[in-house]
Symmetry: C2
Subunit: 207 residues, 2 copies
C-alpha cells in the first residue's frame, strides 16, 4: 500500500467466546498486509512482565478522565473500577501513516466506535454453530458454571446486534476467517468512494 493512502480502521468484534483474539493473531501472521494493532489505554495497575505502550498504555485515573472530557477515546468502558479505552489520537496517527488499524473489541464498544469513525469497517465474527461456541466456553476449563452461564447470556444478547455490522465472517477455521477479513480489507480499498481520488488524474486528465 502506498503511504499516501489512508489506512482503514477495522473493527473486529463478535460474541463472547467466538475467538476474536485468535483470529486477530492469525490475521497478523499472514503476509501481504500492513496491519497495526491498536493498543488500549487503562488505569489498572501494570502487571509483572507487561510493557507500557505494548500491552496497554498505563495511565492514572486523572489522566484517563481528562482524556474522556476531551473526547479522546473512540470508546471506553469501566470494569471492576478500572477504565479501558481506545485512544483516538494513536489510532488516527496510524491511519494517517497508511496502516490498517485493527480494533478487537466487545460488541457494545464496537458500536460506540461506529458513531465516532464513519468510514470504519465493522466485522462481526460468528461461530460455525451455537454448540461450537458453548463447547469452546466450556472447554476453556478455567471458568466455573456460573461464569459460563453469564458469558452465554452475554453472547445471546451480542448476537442480536450482528445486523448492525458491515460484514459477517464465520470463524469455522481461524486461517479461513483471517483470509476472508483480508479480502474484505482489499475490497474496501477498491470501493469507489475510497479510491476514486487516486484515479482522479487518470479520469480527468487528457488522453
Amino acid at each position: 500500500m502506498k503511504l499516501n493512502e489512508r489506512g482503514l480502521l477495522i473493527v473486529l468484534s463478535g460474541p463472547s467466546g467466538v475467538g476474536k483474539g485468535t483470529v486477530r493473531k492469525a490475521l497478523f501472521d499472514m503476509e501481504d498486509h500492513d496491519l497495526t494493532y491498536s493498543v488500549s489505554m487503562t488505569t489498572r495497575p501494570m502487571r509483572e512482565g507487561e510493557v507500557d505502550g505494548v500491552d496497554y498504555y498505563f495511565v492514572s485515573k486523572e489522566d484517563f478522565e481528562k482524556r474522556i472530557s476531551e473526547n479522546g477515546f473512540l470508546e471506553y468502558e469501566q470494569f471492576f473500577g478500572n477504565y479501558y479505552g481506545t485512544p483516538r489520537d494513536k489510532v488516527e496517527q496510524q491511519l494517517d501513516l497508511g496502516h490498517e488499524v485493527v480494533l478487537e473489541i466487545e460488541v457494545q464498544g464496537a458500536l460506540k466506535v461506529r458513531n465516532q469513525v464513519k468510514d470504519a469497517v465493522f466485522i462481526f465474527l460468528v461461530p460455525p454453530s451455537k454448540k461450537a461456541l458453548k463447547d469452546r466456553l466450556i472447554s476453556r476449563g478455567t471458568e466455573d458454571d456460573k461464569t459460563i452461564d453469564t458469558r452465554l447470556a452475554k453472547a445471546e444478547k451480542e448476537f442480536q446486534l450482528a445486523h448492525k455490522y458491515d460484514y459477517i465472517v464465520v470463524n469455522d477455521d481461524i486461517y479461513n476467517a483471517a483470509d476472508r477479513i483480508l479480502a474484505i480489507i482489499r475490497a474496501e480499498h477498491a470501493k469507489t468512494e475510497r479510491s476514486i481520488y487516486k484515479y482522479k488524474s487518470i479520469i480527468e486528465g487528457d488522453l
Copy 2:
C-alpha cells in the same frame, strides 16, 4: 460455495481499450471460484467457427424484438443494424444455481443493468495511466488513426462515469486485477445484508 447461496452478478466494465476481456480471462483462469460467463444474444449472422450458445445465442430479429417487448434483456444495444443483448433468463438461472455470473460489457450498457438488478456488483477497470491506455489502443495496430481517435474520445466520456460504479480496480497487471476482483466477490458475499440469513439459526437459536 454452497448451492443454496445465490450467486452474484458481477458487472465488469471500463473504458474502451482498458483490457476488460483479458482481465475477465485471467479471472476465469484462477482457481477457487465458481464463475460463469454470460453469453450474449445477437441478431448478427453466425460466422465460421462460431457455436450457438457458446459465442452468442444467435436469433432472428423478430425473436430479439419479441424478447425486448417482454423485458427479456438486462441491457441491449444496436450496432450497425444488429442487436446485441444480455438475456435476463439465462443470467437469473445461473445466479439461482449459485454461480457468480460475470458480465463484461461497455460502460453505458453496464449502467442500464444497474436499474435492472439492484444487488449486482459494478466494477470499473481503469488503466494505470492514460498514456498506457493510448499506447494500448495504438499498439493493437489493427486500427487506423481515425478509429483510434474515435475510441479515445469514447474512453474520455466513459471515464466520467466511473463514480457510478461500486468499485474501481486498476489494471496494472491482469492477474493482480483479477485477484482484486476475487477479493471483491468474497467480501460481497460476507456483507451483512447478503449473509445474515445464513447465520439466522446461529444468531436466533438457543445456546
